[in-house]
Amino acid sequence: MFRLQRQPIRLDELVQAVREDGHGAVAIFLGTVRNHNIGRKVLNLEYEAYPAMAVREMERIGRLVLEQYDVDRLAMVHRIGRLEIGETSVAVVAASAHRAAAMEACRCAIDRLKETVPIWKKEIFEGGEAWIEGAGGPMRPL
């Protein structure tokens, strides 16, 4: 399951959707909106995506992770639109028979999402606002 959504992410539902009866391990990463960044007091965030490509790119990462790790199911869900402090902006859920594979797959998936999935956050902080530019991933052309 790879999708963008405007609605809050419901973690319990997401885990239910991913987990199957053969799975003994579920590893989850949640990105959440924090109240500070590089010394600024953050008020909220706005996420924008290139929607169709973002989903394609999450699906591509998903195939890669399922090939590379001994996991059966992976979900990546990212919010778009305005988010308040404390809300979950992204959830990655990996399920497998055993824990090492689930945790490594989860880590790989969120690392790659942050490198290549075309989503951007604008930070609204006390005194201004700014688009956050990522560090750029390995696919960044010259």
């Binding site: 992204v90 942050k114 290549t116 999935v117 075309p118 989503i119 951007w120 530019e133 750029g136």
Partner: protein, 81 residues
């Protein structure tokens, strides 16, 4: 040939544009498109990064030929998560 370009995030904020069309010769590359957009949107010279490029939603590079491509997106360094 006619190519649709798309700008996102700070690029669309800088230029005031989210998408549009450009007519280019059949042997044009991504770099040719970018140069053309640079004359149409002078504020592109002020951005502090090199965008990533996607041709029809696949990452591509600056020398990629545009023949057969419908949509080229210029992407600020991504910051999702």
């Amino acid at each position: 040939m006619e190519i649709t370009f798309r700008f996102f995030a700070s690029l669309s904020e800088r230029t005031g544009a989210t998408e549009g069309k450009v007519d280019l010769p059949g042997d044009a590359t991504v770099r040719d498109l970018w140069d053309e957009l640079g004359s149409r949107f002078p504020t592109l010279a002020e951005i502090g990064f090199t965008p990533m490029v996607a041709c029809d939603m696949e990452y591509a590079d600056w020398e990629s030929p545009l023949r057969g491509v419908r949509e080229v997106a210029f992407l600020p360094p991504v910051s999702g998560g």
